[in-house]
């Protein structure tokens, strides 16, 4: 549904995107992840027809964005980063404008009503956009992106600048949309990808450094598994006992709480789940156990690791 083939973009002497290829199938929801300046917005601007690539091709819904930019743009709903809307228009007026300028074929009035309902804007129909809060403006931004029922949704940093409650709302809205459209969203916040995406493309300095499912990526790069324990015992003794458990490589004291409990980080030699064995050992000793959880490396750490590996190459 979204296809990029050896895509590059130069700004004068600066290469912002360097030979990127990917393929997103219909109905998928994919995250573009990378630090600021890694080329996320540039890729999105090529995919939305804002400008043409320096080299390579890209297409949306099978329509090439260079050969038939106008045709391809009909299939795209786009939420730019820090979306700018005409502040003097009201919500209904703006969405009607958006539907008409994108050649929406059906009953525009009905469609605008439906979209406002879906995005929680129905009670704001007559509100002037310039007077709305950032969270509501973002909803209008998403509403304008979907009002013409595009096959592809491209969302650039959809939750940036929102408060935690609004972030949850926008994420669930995106999740609902994913069933009907193919979604590509960008973010520099890692939990966002795991919260909303099925697949992730990791970018650094304009290059694609990794591409996988969020889970697959975790499996591929995490060679060791760790467990977090909190128990009431003598730290040195607990460490000595737990190090003797089969499969344990090391035990590290990570903290001592004022209630007398100690926190330990246990690392396994192989990718095995240590928690059952550890819990068995601890209960045999009669130590009160407060917490025992497997610790999967977070996407954030993983991301740093991938970038470090990339630099090492």
């Amino acid at each position: 549904m979204i296809n990029a083939d050896h895509l590059s973009k130069n700004y004068g002497p600066v290469r912002a995107v360097d030979d990127i290829s990917f393929d997103i199938v219909a109905g998928d929801i994919v995250g573009l992840l990378g630090p600021n300046g890694s080329g996320k917005t540039t890729i999105m601007r090529m995919l939305t027809g804002f400008f043409a690539p320096t080299a390579g091709t890209c297409s949306v819904a099978g329509v090439d964005l260079v050969e038939d930019s106008l045709g391809a743009r009909r299939h795209i709903g786009y939420l730019p980063e820090n979306i700018a809307l005409y502040p003097d228009m009201n919500v209904r007026g703006y969405l009607t404008f958006a539907a008409r300028t994108r050649d929406y074929g059906g009953n525009v009035k009905q469609r605008v009503d439906d979209v406002m309902e879906e995005c929680g804007l129905a009670h704001m129909a007559r509100r002037t956009i310039g007077k709305m809060s950032k969270g509501y403006r973002q909803r209008v931004g998403i509403a304008q992106a979907i009002v013409h029922e595009p096959k592809v949704l491209i969302l650039d940093e959809p939750t940036v600048g929102l408060d935690p409650r609004q972030i949850v709302e926008i994420r669930s809205l995106i999740g609902e949309l994913a069933g009907r459209s193919t979604v590509l969203l960008s973010t520099h916040i890692l939990p966002e990808v795991s919260a909303t995406c099925r697949r992730v493309l990791i970018l650094d300095e304009g290059r694609l450094v990794a591409e996988d499912t969020a889970e697959g990526l975790t499996k591929k790069t995490v060679g060791k598994r760790e467990a977090v324990l909190r128990l009431r015992a003598d730290a040195a003794e607990a460490a000595r006992v737990l190090e003797a458990v089969d499969g344990v490589e090391s035990v590290e004291l990570t903290g001592t709480a004022s209630d007398g409990t100690v926190s330990l980080l246990v690392t396994a030699a192989q990718a095995t789940d240590l928690v059952p064995a550890l819990v068995r050992e601890i209960s045999e000793r009669g130590w009160p156990l407060y917490e025992a959880t497997p610790r999967v490396m977070s996407l954030e750490e993983l991301f740093v690791k991938i970038l470090e590996d990339g630099e090492g190459r």
């Binding site: 973009k9 700004y11 004068g12 912002a16 540039t42 601007r45 939305t48 027809g49 804002f50 400008f51 043409a52 106008l70 045709g71 743009r73 009909r74 795209i76 786009y78 730019p80 820090n82 979306i83 700018a84 809307l85 005409y86 502040p87 003097d88 228009m89 009607t96 404008f97 958006a98 008409r100 300028t101 994108r102 050649d103 304008q144």
Partner: protein
């Protein structure tokens, strides 16, 4: 067609939904009314001759043009600069709209503003005509000339606006170009005689003045048409510059 109508409505809203156009119109109408009153008075007092009315219109519309030229940059400055500043242009560029359509909608919206302003000046000759009917051919030429002059200057303003994201810079630069074009040959004595021919061909005043006398000639129309085409070309290239500049 539907999408162009939606685009044009949005552009018109940008003008008539904001107070600026009403202030501009108020000042324009006050000044043109003042010119009408004083010019008429002058001709009643001193302007005896065979063609009082003809001279009155020539004088009046040369005065009105000065006000129009002052107003043009204030109307055109926002056209692109505001959208670039706000960022709204990005959604226009990624909608299935041709650059030409966007430009056409912006141009037509500007011309609607001037249609209202210049249309209101019809009141002055209409009043005289009511008292004493006269031959309208000169006035037809004047309004044709006014339309071509204003249309060209609007396109200059639109082009300049497409180059910047700061409205005041767009306005000031447009003033510079518009006033220079209008006054290019004003001091004939200061110009070398061999250059005078060239410069007066470039001067907007020299091409408008025949219209004010009631003379419609193709070469003067061609001047405005050529300059307009040049500005349309420039604006489309400026819109295209996002391709290599990488920003809106």
């Amino acid at each position: 067609m539907k999408r162009f109508a939606a685009l044009l409505r949005r552009e018109l809203r940008g003008f008539f939904g904001s107070p600026l156009v009403y202030f501009v119109a108020a000042v324009f109408l006050a000044l043109s009314g003042y010119y009408f009153y004083t010019d008429l008075n002058a001709f009643i007092t001193f302007g005896f001759g065979d063609s009082i009315v003809e001279h009155l219109w020539q004088r009046l519309f040369n005065d009105i043009v000065r006000v129009v030229l002052t107003v043009i940059p204030l109307v055109t400055m926002r056209v692109y600069a505001e959208e670039k500043h706000l960022g709204t242009i990005e959604l226009l560029y990624t909608s299935p709209l041709r650059d030409g359509e966007i430009l056409a909608a912006k141009y037509l919206a500007c011309m609607c503003v001037f249609l209202v302003l210049l249309g209101s000046t019809v009141l002055y000759p209409a009043m005289i005509y009511y008292i004493q009917p006269f031959d309208l051919s000169q006035l037809k030429a004047i309004y044709l000339g006014l339309f071509m002059l204003v249309s060209t200057m609007v396109l200059i303003g639109i082009f300049v606006s497409s180059l910047t994201r700061t409205q005041l810079i767009a306005a000031m630069f447009t003033y510079g170009v518009v006033l220079l074009l209008w006054n290019l040959s004003w001091n004939e004595a200061a110009l070398p005689t061999d250059l005078l021919g060239v410069i007066s061909q470039l001067c907007a005043y020299d091409h408008f003045e025949p219209f004010a006398r009631g003379v419609v000639e193709l070469k003067h129309m061609a001047y405005f048409a050529a300059l307009s085409l040049l500005m349309v070309f420039g604006t489309l290239r400026s819109m295209e510059s996002r391709q290599w500049r990488g920003r809106r």
